[in-house]
């Protein structure tokens, strides 16, 4: 396993995800995915664990792939029902490119997500981003799972009050979810307010400049990884 500076991780994610959007060719996207997976392996990120953790997101990606496949027409017909072209080569290509792009973006995001949230703040501040913005990113990262937790706690409380979500009609179910979503967001915002208050009580933003206990230092492995990733992306681009 290699240990990388947070700035290196942020830079790699930026170039990989940008390339995933720019590249159109399937072979290029496949090579880019391989490069991303290789980087994840080097950073000891569990590939199967990521699939498991984001299971519901993958279902959505698969649905997106199918929609893209069925609604993009062009090329030869692969599947037809009567006179209706259901799947064409262009549709299949569009579907595969969507799933490849999403996989690249998800796995490259894991390169950042696998480092501690404080490391990300250190990285962003070292990249000359104002520390307030760095901490806002940190809070946003922390709060997404919290909002999710609040929401599921409320769903549990609703069910424990004897309400069977499977049995209530769709209209009522939708109004119930709006009931729950609003306080979940309010509770998360309140928590954010308390955190900001406690941070300010501990001297956050008291002085214009801030000193950090830890100093980031780019090592040879960081430069090498950045150069190798850049060279690989340029090579993939020029191959196509």
């Amino acid at each position: 396993m290699i240990s990388l500076d947070p700035r290196t991780r942020i830079f790699i994610v930026l170039i990989i995800s940008s390339a995933a959007i720019i590249f159109k060719d399937l072979k290029a996207l496949m090579l880019l995915l391989l490069l991303t997976l290789l980087l994840c392996k080097l950073l000891s990120i569990s590939l199967s664990g990521t699939v498991r953790k984001l299971r519901k997101l993958w279902y959505f990606f698969i649905l997106l792939t199918l929609i893209q496949s069925f609604f993009t027409h062009g090329g030869d017909t692969l599947l037809a029902l009567g006179g209706l072209r259901i799947l064409t080569t262009a549709g299949l290509e569009a579907g595969i490119s969507i799933i490849l792009r999403m996989s690249i973006i998800v796995y490259s995001a894991m390169i950042i997500a696998s480092s501690s949230s404080m490391d990300i703040v250190y990285g962003l501040t070292a990249m000359k981003l104002p520390q307030e913005i760095g901490f806002m990113v940190l809070l946003a990262i922390k709060f997404l799972p919290l909002i999710r937790e609040e929401f599921f706690d409320s769903i549990t409380a609703v069910q424990l009050s004897g309400i069977d979500l499977k049995k209530i009609p769709l209209g009522k179910k939708l109004s119930l979810y709006t009931y729950i979503l609003t306080p979940s967001v309010i509770k998360a915002l309140n928590r954010a307010r308390y955190i900001s208050l406690s941070m300010e009580c501990r001297g956050f933003r008291t002085y214009p400049a801030r000193t950090f206990y830890r100093r980031l230092k780019m090592k040879a492995a960081d430069y090498f990884t950045i150069l190798a990733a850049l060279a690989s992306i340029i090579a993939i681009f020029s191959l196509n």
Binding site: A157, Q159, L160, S161, G162
Partner: protein
Amino acid sequence: MSFYKTDSLTFSYNHRNNLFENLSLLIEENEHIGLIGPNGCGKTTLAKLMLGILSPTGGKIFLEGTDIRNLSLSNIGGKVGYVFQNPDKQLFCPTVWEQMTFSYKYGSQSFQENIEDKINYYLELFDLAKNKNASPMALSRGEKQRLALASVLSRDVKFLILDEPTTGLDLLRKKQLEKCLVTLRDEGKGYMIISHEGDFLDKHIDRLLTLSPKGVEVS
């Protein structure tokens, strides 16, 4: 047939260290139980297992003879009322009145006039009638605790699990809670109270369970 039966119940959050092992318990429907134990010994976890919020690592829990894994949360919630340790977790409606009537609005029971009386009774009892139209978010911690209690008590459940119900209650409200517990006892309803307040428990329970990593001790 006991109301609750735990059979060699084992639970672990990390699949390495068990919080408790082979816990076997019988709780009757009209029993009044106190559950104590040091911080982190798994009192709330045991309650969550009994409610089906968490799944045991080993062993089984039966509610009225049915394995809890075969019951939905709403099935369990229809029989057992639970007051969370943190009342914020169970308050999600825009007003106190809507919180109280929520299970009637969305549940299978229809809202009838006598239910309105019942809800008003509990609002009066817990001194919340003046807050009827207030947002539960705007209430103090003690008021939230009272509202959580009132909303659970107003539902017709067979058994109650109260997780540290006295937290945030002043002397007067503690007395009101005590009055409620007496009423529940008179109605023949059972409950389990998780608490650190020995004096409070002594007055209201028939059996004390002390939870520790070694198991449960009955006194």
